[in-house]
């Protein structure tokens, strides 16, 4: 199973995402922003970081990278896409996901091991979890406050499209404690926490994040 990870200028967690895919049992495939070639991958991860220096708005310039035109077309046909942190911001700017990520309430860059609750386990990226599972996964961002119109929030909630919610306390002022969402079809998922940083006991607060990567491998086998 070939899973791609896109490197943009300013990506930071691309190598961690590639490593997580390998540890989950997949074949990690590095993809480059300046090419529109998806190299026959079966799913793609947009990693964390500060693509294009977060200039203008986080993810605003990456959205127009050549690789994104291929990803947007593929995503509209059901191709699994996971955006982590900056990747989530890029998915919102690309209009593959609704809403936007704005400056954290309190202005702090928040870097912490964050308790989360799994709300939706019907996406290809979360199928290995059970609804209600409690996870601890690192968050590290300055612009992670999820904002959307009242109508969009109502739609996300009524259609069960909130994937992850912050548990215990809301670190950044996100509406409805939202930490991750999915599109109507369920193949595109964006999360602010970093599952690729919670895959090994040695380096992470838990191994709770690995299930994102094993889930997508299982869903691809089942196709």
């Amino acid at each position: 199973m070939r899973i791609g990870v896109v490197t943009f200028p300013g990506s930071l967690d691309d190598s961690s995402a590639l490593r997580a895919i390998r540890l989950a049992g997949g074949t990690p495939v590095p993809l480059f922003h300046a090419s529109d070639d998806l190299k026959e991958v079966q799913a793609v991860v947009l990693p964390g970081g500060f693509s294009y220096g977060d200039y203008l708005r986080c993810g605003a310039i990456s959205r127009f990278a050549p690789i994104m035109s291929s990803i947007i077309i593929a995503a509209e046909h059901g191709f699994p896409v996971l955006g982590i942190c900056n990747g989530f911001q890029i998915l919102c700017e690309s209009h593959l996901l609704p809403g936007a990520l704005t400056r954290n309430q309190g202005l702090h860059f928040v870097c912490t091991d964050q308790p989360l609750t799994v709300e939706n386990n019907s996406t290809p990226w979360t199928s290995g979890y059970s609804k209600g599972d409690r996870l601890v996964i690192p968050i590290k961002n300055g612009e992670g406050s999820f904002q959307a119109s009242v109508e969009t929030l109502r739609e996300l909630e009524s259609e069960g499209r909130v994937v992850l919610r912050y548990a215990d306390s809301n670190p950044n002022g996100s509406k409805n404690d939202i930490a991750g969402i999915t599109n109507a079809r369920g193949n595109v998922v964006g999360v602010m926490p970093h599952p690729e940083q919670a895959i090994e006991d040695l380096t992470g607060p838990s191994t709770d994040g690995l299930t994102f990567f094993t889930s997508v491998l299982h869903s691809l086998v089942g196709r």
């Binding site: 203008l56 708005r57 605003a60 127009f64 919102c92 700017e93 609704p98 809403g99 936007a100 704005t102 400056r103 954290n104 309430q105 309190g106 202005l107 406050s145 904002q147 959307a148 119109s149 002022g173």
Partner: protein, 81 residues
């Protein structure tokens, strides 16, 4: 030569922590006039000659697709001599 100015502001319902931080800093310097501050962005786009209606329409389109995010922001386009 003219300058087309695009001003981008967060929508009123979107929390602006940067503006709040500025509002909180002003009284510490003795400036007591502000009841609230909102912070935005200003783009100055230079064009040759007087901008045509088509050019302004193009700038509007660019403001909508790249310079602002309509989910959270509004913008205005103006011409300055």
């Amino acid at each position: 030569m003219a300058t087309i100015v695009v001003e981008v502001m967060l929508k009123p319902e979107i929390l602006d922590p940067q503006g709040q931080a500025v509002a909180a800093a002003l009284p510490r310097l003795g400036f007591t006039f502000a009841t609230a501050v909102r912070q935005g962005k200003r783009f100055e786009i230079e064009v040759a000659g007087t901008p045509s209606a088509e050019q302004l329409a193009e700038v509007e389109k660019a403001a909508e697709t790249l310079l602002s995010n309509p989910v959270i922001e509004t913008f205005v386009v103006k011409v300055e001599a």
